[in-house]
Amino acid sequence: MTASGSSALCSLGIDIGSTTAKVVLMEGNTVLYEKYERHLSQVRTKALEMITEIRDLLIGRAFTAAISGSAGLGLAEAAGLPFVQEVYATGEVVKALEPDTSVVIELGGEDAKVIFFAGGTDERMNGTCAGGTGAFIDQMAILLNMTVDEMDAASLQHTRLYPIASRCGVFAKTDIQPLLNQGAAKADVAASIYQAVVNQTISGLAQGRRISGKVMFLGGPLHYCQGLRDRFRETLKLTDETAVFPEYGRFAVAMGAAMFSRKDSRQFSYETITKALANAEGAVTVGHRLPPLFASEDEYLAFRDRHAKATVEEDDISSYAGDAWLGIDCGSTTTKLALISDENRILYSFYSSNRGNPVELVREQLSKIYELCGDRITIRGSAVTGYGEQLIEAAFQVDAGVVETIAHYTAARYFQPDVDFILDIGGQDIKCFRIRNGAIDSIMLNEACSSGCGSFIETFARSMGYGIEEFAALGLRGKSPVDLGSRCTVFMNSSVKQSQKEGATVEDISAGLSVSVVKNAVYKVIRASSARELGQHIVVQGGTFLNDAVLRAFEMEMDGPVIRPAIAGLMGAYGAALYARKFRKSTLLSRESLASFSHTSRAAVCRGCTNQCRLIINTFADGRRLISGNQCQRGLGLDAPDAELPNLYAYKRDYLAGLTGRPGKRGKIGIPMALGMYELAPLWHAVFTELGYEVVFSRLSTRRTYERGQFSIPSDTACYPAKIMHGHMEELMDEGLDTLFYPVLTYNVDEQGGTNHYNCPIVAYYSELLNGNMDRLKEVTFLYPNLNINSPRAFTATLFEAMHRHDPSVTRGECRRAVEAGLEAYDRFRRDVMAEGERAVAYARAEGKRIMILAGRPYHIDPEIGHGIDKLAVQLGFVVVSEDSVCHLEEPQRTRVLNQWTYHSRLYRAARYATHHKDTELVQLVSFGCGIDAITTDECRSILEPEGKFYTQLKIDEITNLGAVRIRLRSLLGALEAKEGEETA
């Protein structure tokens, strides 16, 4: 191996990625030395250190050198060394060593790359919004409380896969947490995480090009994770011959850099290269910095003393005798318990990470509490709140479940009776409530893509090699915190990367992260522009506020002091305990039953209907069962609720299902039931039936629909309703249809509801994109004419032009009659929907039921896009109406924003309707990626809130955790009840 003394010219490749550094020394195509290490953000020192280690190999000889990698870019500039882009470097290596490769898939710490060789080289990297990389896998392992190796080993034992979003870590967490909390097997979750990475790579990077032929897999994660390799191999249907995992996988980029460096005439010696790296310190420019959290030590001491005052008294559990109440807060990442005395003093408290099994954790704690209580203390009542509420309630027969929001408010009011604003930042949630007249007045929760929460800081601390407490303490000392923006975690990762490149210290990064978490909460979640919008008496809580740096950052942003109870992390549990005080005799599992407690969970698929919900069945020692994961009550072994409440979403689904074709002289025409078709299906059905076509619509979507069209999606950040359309087209073609139709419609129907009647760009033009990206459409006739449906005359003219070109036998007269029939069918549909809306409203008023306007777009009635939220609302006792079934009951709205889209003007009218009716609430469904909803959501809120109504927004994407939706809707119910109680009191 040792090459000293050899005179051949060597080349040195240094690859510095987001988390690791790799060094190789090559002679020709032979690797003389290689090393792989985590750099913990110490980019320059690590590179220098790794070079110094091979001093003996380098000394006294000349060699070429190049740096590569995302974190190497800045270093190369500062040190004046040649740089080669990492994807390019990979391409070089593969072309030289394995020329018959057709595709390379490389996963790095934060980047994913795909290179196609066959048929013109095409190199791609993930865009700005993308997860599914090494950092994502690391985060997920932490969530499972495993090392990456353990997670990988577990994944090999899996028996089934769950759908998990991999767009970014935050999304995935919202899917994984409930799975864990509901008791899904870790092996299955681990494998599902890998599957998510595979799906992300295919949909995000292949963008319509098929991955086939000889595929080479490179990069750290694919080197270490056997399970991940298996998922790729299986999904891409590769064999051992066509899936190549070369030994040098992790070093491919470094080798590419080494090989590339030979093109550069510059030669280095050990001395010159170490000198260049040593001198690179401080040579980089520094980005924007923020003022320090504390200007002086005195300021810090004053801050500490002030917050030390907000404490709860404690009583000694070992001497106390009497009654006690127990509160449990089973959160997404942590579990908290509080046992309180009859004076509300804390007898016992507990705070710990879930470690992936909250049931076991609670069982341990209960045993311990029973032991400590002995015969002196009697537990009179208990309550549980948080994500794991249902599971814990069932497992331990807890007296009551409390919605999180109510639990937190109960606790906050105990500390500050005048509290008018509560901000709770937990591991994964941000919750804010405004309190008016003693009732929760508005609730804001973070949406999936805006979560810079506690677990984010924690994950970061760990990745940099610190515990969270140590990391937070360092943040307090940051002299000039880095400005990281207030975006989602993926963006923050790259901001941190950038600041590391600029040589920011750990102190400054820690402080900067705290500031960005606060800014995220204030500007993205609360949407406030100043402190005075929040309130006079602000209480902050949640585990994240135990971090003094976060607390201080919040005070600075608010420009004034706030109250942080010393038990900030326990507030949910404490509130639950206070809530439980209404019980006198507890149903909680006794000490004896607890001793024989056991819990198993298994996964199953519900066969109740076509939705095929993935269920998790928990079984407890005494034979009781808890089933979760279901969208409806069917399949729970329960009787169907006696009379289902009116649900306009179901009504519309049934209406559209009734549109069947009848055989015609011109054969069959396939129409995808997607995007605008949920609105206009009756129109096109009548038009084509009249023209002599048998109309075949694709079926309502399932997850499978999305998957079958996934590979041809060019823009991954478009909304799910659009992306799923690829699957609908595939389905129609699979069924043998050779004529397909989906028109280009710049304008929607004009309902005189605003200043114009546009469709959004996606609904208007998605068929252009389909035509350009779905190769299979070339084998059939895809009609996507640009039509004008706004006047019978223009409609006829544009339809005739398009149809006559397709089939010369189509006459103008036929088109005229088709248009008449179409417009009439559409009018009938709208009238029926509106009549049904009125009927539902009348029913609700007669029966004293609450009405929910589930306001979205027509396509939200699709069970896969809307995730059955309508059914959930019905289960919770709401009569569900859609925005388009009640909008006609109000005048068109004068909005402050441009009201020029048909669907959105319905939304504003529906919101106005809610303000006029006490029994009506509006809940807005927002699909992730809907740009226009960034405008409508604020406007809807500003219609509702001044009139004293709640504004509830549910952001949904390809996978949506109904548990979180349930919490939000129950919070809404809880708040409504509290408000009514207040009004009648």
């Binding site: 207030s486 975006r487 901001s495 208007a764 033009y765 350009g772 441009l898 960034a934 604020d938």
Partner: protein
């Protein structure tokens, strides 16, 4: 009408014309400076905002919904930041924005700006919608024919200067000399356009020639450089504030930058109204007017092209008539929201004219670009196998290092292709 007018709209009155300073966001400095000069002639006191830096983005993020497109955050942030800085009296300041009224959410910048001003405590500041569709009434702003005429020349000069600067910048012997020369021209032409005297077309054409000759005389050292075209959402395509100074980055990488002009976007807007009748059988009268406007603008542009051809030295721009034909077989020219079919057309047009490397810029989550940018890359590559496109997303949180890394990948491939080409020639 009442239902159509937003409740918080404040008209820009004739009195305000006398008392108020109008602030203009910065998108294309050269163009906009000359536009200001024209506006001044007609009695409007305009200022171009040239601020940048974190306070602009911060103000934007604070007052605009963070999921809104990045240009809205920047433009609104820049306005609010300027007023907050104390440099302008909020009682004597008005803001102006261009509004197309299309189906893209960008049409909402003006309402969003008003909402932001309200929240920031400056609800008295009038916001002028500069819209050819006449979306709002602003008695103080009269788009008279002579004024429009002047604006057209500002755009024509601007596009010419932009093209020439880009063709010299990478090769100039003295760093910054091309931009300095352009700045001198902007000054001179601004004075001319703002002198109030009637603009004679023969003078304009003489100016074109002199401009081209002055650039031809600029000391340069030409070498085979990689050519990179920039297309995309109009704000991030042009504005250094929006695209992290993309042009400068590419020039530093020794690439020659090719940026299609602003006039094309104007013609795209007018021509869409022509197509509205041709494709959708709607609004015949508007199609006639716009047809006249389009051919007028197109003739003006073709004059520049002809003079550039006569003078030699520089590669002229593409005729609009040719641009229109580019999308055939890829995207329908009825796609008219945002940059619509023009974006696809510009990528193809660049490819045809030998600029095979393209940066497609867009704000993160830009709706029309899902279709006409990212959505058309596959068909574009099918038609032009040797094209090398990279899509870059711009956003308040997107980091420069991430963007530059992707640009470097595009440049690596571009250089390799160039080397192959040169080798083939020898």
């Amino acid at each position: 009408m009442s239902r159509k007018q937003a409740p918080n709209y404040i008209p820009f009155t004739k009195e305000m014309k006398k008392t108020h300073t109008i602030l203009i966001p910065n998108m294309l400095p050269m163009h906009f400076k000359m536009i200001m000069a024209v506006m001044k002639t007609y009695g409007y006191d305009c200022r171009l905002l040239e601020t940048s830096g974190p306070s602009v983005v911060e103000a934007g993020l604070k007052y605009v919904h963070n999921d809104t497109c990045y240009p809205a955050i920047l433009v609104i942030g820049q306005f609010i930041d300027a007023i907050r800085s104390g440099a302008y009296d909020p009682d004597r300041t008005a803001l102006i924005l261009f509004q197309t009224g299309g189906g893209c959410r960008a049409s909402n910048y003006i309402p969003l700006l008003r909402k932001a001003l309200e929240r920031a405590g400056y609800s008295q500041v009038p916001v002028i919608s500069l819209s050819l569709a006449g979306m709002e009434k602003h008695p103080g702003l009269e788009l008279t024919l002579p004024l429009m005429h002047g604006l057209v020349y500002a755009l024509l000069y601007g596009d010419l200067l932009m093209s020439l600067v880009n063709q010299c910048r990478t090769y100039e012997k003295e760093k910054g000399s091309a931009q300095a020369l352009a700045a001198r021209w902007v000054e001179k032409l601004g004075t001319e356009l703002g002198s109030g005297s009637r603009i004679r077309y023969s003078d304009v054409k003489r100016n074109y020639r002199e401009i081209i000759r002055s650039f031809a005389e600029l000391p340069v050292e030409r070498f085979p450089a990689v050519k990179v075209g920039i297309v995309g959402e109009i704000f991030v395509k042009y504005s250094p504030l929006g695209n992290n100074d993309l042009e400068q980055f590419l020039v530093n990488e020794k690439a020659e930058v090719v940026v299609p002009g602003l006039l094309d976007f104007m013609m795209y807007c007018t021509y869409n109204n022509v197509l509205e009748y041709r494709i959708r059988k709607d609004r015949w009268f508007s199609s006639v007017i716009n047809s006249v406007a389009t051919s007028y603008l197109s003739r003006k542009k073709n004059d520049i092209i002809r003079i550039m051809e006569e003078e030699g030295t520089f590669t002229p721009m593409t005729r609009f008539e040719d641009t229109i034909r580019c999308p055939e077989g890829t995207i329908g020219i009825g796609t008219k929201m945002g940059e619509g079919w023009l974006l696809t057309a510009e990528m193809l047009e660049l490819g045809h004219s030998g600029v095979k490397n393209i940066v497609c810029t867009q704000p993160f989550g830009c709706l029309p670009n899902h279709i006409c940018g990212k959505g058309m890359m596959k068909p574009i590559k099918e038609h032009n196998p040797d094209i090398n496109i990279v899509a870059i997303d711009y956003d308040a949180g997107a980091t420069r290092v991430n963007q530059e890394n992707r640009l470097k990948l595009m440049l690596s491939n571009a250089r390799e292709n160039l080397e192959k080409e040169l080798a083939a020639e020898n």
